[in-house]
Symmetry: D2
Amino acid sequence: MKSKHPIGILGATGAVGQRYIQLLENHPWFEIAWLAASDRSSGKSYAEAVKWRLDTPLPERIARMTVSPAEPPSASNDAPKIIFAALDAAIAREMEPKFANAGCAVVSNSSAYRMAPNVPLVIPEINAEHLHLIEEQPSRRETGGYMVTNPNCSTIGLVMALKPLEERFGIEQIFVTTMQAVSGAGYPGVPSMDILGNVVPYIASEEEKMEAETLKLLGKLEGHAVTPLAARITAHCNRVAVEDGHMESVSIKLKKRATHEELLATWAEFRPLAGQHLPTAPDQPVQWTAQPDRPQPRLDRNRGNGMAVTVGRLRPCGVLDWKFTVLSHNTIRGAAGATILNAELLASLGKLEPGSPATDRGRWSGEPVAAAAHA
Amino acid sequence: MKSKHPIGILGATGAVGQRYIQLLENHPWFEIAWLAASDRSSGKSYAEAVKWRLDTPLPERIARMTVSPAEPPSASNDAPKIIFAALDAAIAREMEPKFANAGCAVVSNSSAYRMAPNVPLVIPEINAEHLHLIEEQPSRRETGGYMVTNPNCSTIGLVMALKPLEERFGIEQIFVTTMQAVSGAGYPGVPSMDILGNVVPYIASEEEKMEAETLKLLGKLEGHAVTPLAARITAHCNRVAVEDGHMESVSIKLKKRATHEELLATWAEFRPLAGQHLPTAPDQPVQWTAQPDRPQPRLDRNRGNGMAVTVGRLRPCGVLDWKFTVLSHNTIRGAAGATILNAELLASLGKLEPGSPATDRGRWSGEPVAAAAHA
Amino acid sequence: MKSKHPIGILGATGAVGQRYIQLLENHPWFEIAWLAASDRSSGKSYAEAVKWRLDTPLPERIARMTVSPAEPPSASNDAPKIIFAALDAAIAREMEPKFANAGCAVVSNSSAYRMAPNVPLVIPEINAEHLHLIEEQPSRRETGGYMVTNPNCSTIGLVMALKPLEERFGIEQIFVTTMQAVSGAGYPGVPSMDILGNVVPYIASEEEKMEAETLKLLGKLEGHAVTPLAARITAHCNRVAVEDGHMESVSIKLKKRATHEELLATWAEFRPLAGQHLPTAPDQPVQWTAQPDRPQPRLDRNRGNGMAVTVGRLRPCGVLDWKFTVLSHNTIRGAAGATILNAELLASLGKLEPGSPATDRGRWSGEPVAAAAHA
Amino acid sequence: MKSKHPIGILGATGAVGQRYIQLLENHPWFEIAWLAASDRSSGKSYAEAVKWRLDTPLPERIARMTVSPAEPPSASNDAPKIIFAALDAAIAREMEPKFANAGCAVVSNSSAYRMAPNVPLVIPEINAEHLHLIEEQPSRRETGGYMVTNPNCSTIGLVMALKPLEERFGIEQIFVTTMQAVSGAGYPGVPSMDILGNVVPYIASEEEKMEAETLKLLGKLEGHAVTPLAARITAHCNRVAVEDGHMESVSIKLKKRATHEELLATWAEFRPLAGQHLPTAPDQPVQWTAQPDRPQPRLDRNRGNGMAVTVGRLRPCGVLDWKFTVLSHNTIRGAAGATILNAELLASLGKLEPGSPATDRGRWSGEPVAAAAHA
């Protein structure tokens, strides 16, 4: 890959936007060429516009870039055709189709279109074949542009742990309780008065997202749509006083009987991207930890550069079959890294090249179908 | 009740021992007459022996008391006949039968004998009738002494929320994930390096205790023993960075169909101790909170002076029937307050009066039966 | 005092407003008769308008009260003549003079007028005589109305510890580093992402307030104005992950030589309000703790119902003379309790009775003098 | 440097020992050849002996190494001649001289001998010339062995910030208040019950160490000894709920007048190791941050791979001349990294080569002189 793909970031000053910048510094395939944010920031240097909140320095080249208005590429506008989007759902719902209509590949972390029937909700290790839904998008036919989404931060860890088990044994019932880090709420996000020495047993819409997204991700592409997995699922979502790293207590009922050893082997052998050389993909996406008191957010969230999911404490469940603990880094594997890995997958499939649309006409209307209104 | 019962505290310098002292200051029925702790403390004034860790001042009368050796009442020893015990399980296993054999009413917070077939595991609002097991104890026949226990701190909140539902609708399956405060581990307990900005998905033996104790508490006294509730139960126990207050995400399957309104009404009407005037019993033991993000440890743990349990977020469960959140104060309702309330119940039943044993002979051997070896 | 003074609260839904409500429940002298907040809340019931964040229940009578618009008493308005104000400085600067001009006694926690030359900045134990400045206010002469302020939450603990030493030995130099609780910033206030596992070495304007207010409080009323104490002072203000309770590391240089014992005795003997029976005043306003690792926020902030200040660790200083640690509860002694105690002092002096103004004409112009622009 | 120096670690399972292992993985000059710990661990594999608490994986080669007894090299023992020591002070006091007497270069993080007149207390950027004290040690003359120490974790940040100012302007008075991370107390260290939502204003012996070590580090080697800096210093040491990173609020009085710009320039130009290419030395040891609310532990502690010190908030002081905030990573720059950098300095000076002792006879007696008994 001689020259890098120029990419743009929508929502560049927010928490996920900052993570894109951090993770894309020195990326072998992508180069940040354009940064857009709200009108308040537009026209400023990025250094002026941002309250940089990461523990690595703001790269100097990025600091000096000027923040652009959030307008799609046009004759008078040099926005690139590959857009990493990190907008709030309400804004994304309006903005992302505009970029797709203008011919962009919109790789998004927003929840706005995750559940739209013709928008792929993808984790490369899990359901790369769902990318076919791109071809069902109206913009794709006219301009080549399209939208691809990644799941909610709490969904990713769960699905990564479940997928290999689903493949080999089938999953019938899923019970999950989350203990989620505050960074999942962005910045300023959770007030310290709410979370110091406390647990908040509620995150708006989180349980609904987690339940619906999990079944779509584990679902099957059949013709022009994805049929969600026919399993029963329930989520209890809680916020805890952790900076980064979502913990989940999980119980499952399998279709086929499995032993403890078989489950561990299934996770160990799960390397669906082996040989594809996506730069951000971890060698071992699901990592087992044998110590009885692990995984823990502080100690395990950075495995695989924050892209691996850690499972531990596998033991029989008194209600379903098995129970275990899952941890994933919510702003890397669960957000910015997920988007980047989706873009890498698209690049490896040649879907980021310009001029490849089919010929049928169509555009995103800006009025998403009902299913897309899922926040 | 003209004069107060003199009581003694075993394990007076520990975290639960300190809570006994705090909660018994100005108690209308009980007066602390004797404090015992390890050999290291024995002979010192209590003020010297203790590292007082509560946010109310150490009462001056108690501060000046001399710590006694942990020896049962005898000719040469003025230990009282009512003992509030807060010993570690290993020590309790050896020590509590000695006090029972010496004619004491041992009201204990320890796990050592909770699961022994002839030891009542009691929450006054839940299963006062299990106290009959006292009469099955060998020491009771010889000296009048006996042992009564209260459950683990994580069990109490769950059982308080479940009991009224079990009575009216029957419970078939129970799923619970805990997020437990550090004070549950005593002092020094959980290292700060383990819990700051972290979650620890493991507390030794906690899941086993919680599962077994819940079924015994909800079980039925039949003849000389308790038959545990025939329900399936699974617990995931986690430690979080909270000082006091255990949160629990719960799902249940009922035998009979119930509506949202019926469940709320069942909790609201649950006042099993009404009219008994036990000083530490809360008027409303299970309190509903309607706000979507409650209960929370910091805001709700002190309801009913720390003796009420708060439930919230009742909603349908995708796997079982209903799901909700429970909170209880782990060192008050879940430990010291539980012991005191048990003692109040015993007092109201006349079981703390001396000289009431039956005539059959017997003593605790010091070798608990197998079932009692539950830590 | 047969009937209670009806009082109103300006800024009733904020963090300090909530504390007023909590602390005034069952107050023997004052009764809440009127609640005002921003236009957004006006017309709603208080229960609807507030996000109640305290760990005691919202009193039912208050919950049902209707929130009034923030308008001073008039023919068409039944706002009471005693106003407890808890507004942001910018709003207070405009609003408080309107209420004073309308004849109200405005007892305020805001910083807006603390440094105005004719506004008393008062702690009853420290400088009650500064209340004379009321008579220098233009509104006082026309309508009887006036403004009285209490200091910043970080100032009060320091000044309480210094005052007795200043009286007996004189203070020449003051060095203070604060470690301040997040509740000092109100709600939502400090984002959890900023403070979990962190220290923020900056609180806007806090150091300037603390330095200026300390010298005014310890200053002398001379004729029509207060001459600040002629001491050198420097403050380092930091925010830490504590819910309530400001800690301060203090070093001082005295004018006269003092021994360790003399300093302790000076604090112990400091009971300037003895015999005045103000309901909220602690018996022992400055409390010494002898343990080497105390005071601590969690264990000591509630001394004297949150109104006492705790000092500890007195030892020689290698640069100045002595060093020690001070703790005070920032939202009780440092905010709502301070206002209430000021109101109690005013009541005991007969200054809350209507119709006592002098005859000279005058009104607050709404344009505070330069010194008042101190945020 | 063709082959690496084999080194041993004393106290390999503790918090600092683990950091040595983490930081020495892939070190270009040193290779871990020997691990020793207490008798409890001796004979086990390192993986079995350690509770690994870092967020990078335990290196596999190290995991498989067998833990040796803590005995100095001898005929029957293959302990290496370069020892990185991380023992508790009481054990170090006895053990370190044994290794020095056996011919080892003992590079230590312990406080046991820091203040001994003939033991260098060294930070390479500050006072490399103090290493001459090695030649004053009795063991050096007989076996070539010697001891070198680095300062307390709270001292290093302060001294790094002060040294360039001392060189250019002279320092007369130093005032410092620390807010120290829990990792400074090792593991299990600070109980969570003590620090969650709390500040502890006391760390045993910390203030004394910080004051004495600072003056020795800034002192001058004169003949056979170091004359401490003749400045007045006072330290207030506090523990806060931070995992890693010590914050310090500092005020200083200078001998010569300096402007804000001169102070910033002095820090910027401070590169005393430039050109020496010590692998662990940061390019810019003292880094200025211009944002008003920085440095912060979470965001700045890892600058220079945890080896740089960050200063911010420089402003005039109302008591002394200037005040500012300092941050340093307490377990990297303040402990394990400090030891490693000292070893690198010794290597670059040829002091780690065997067989270079002078000829005078002598041994450490095991009875340290009085000054060394400083814990």
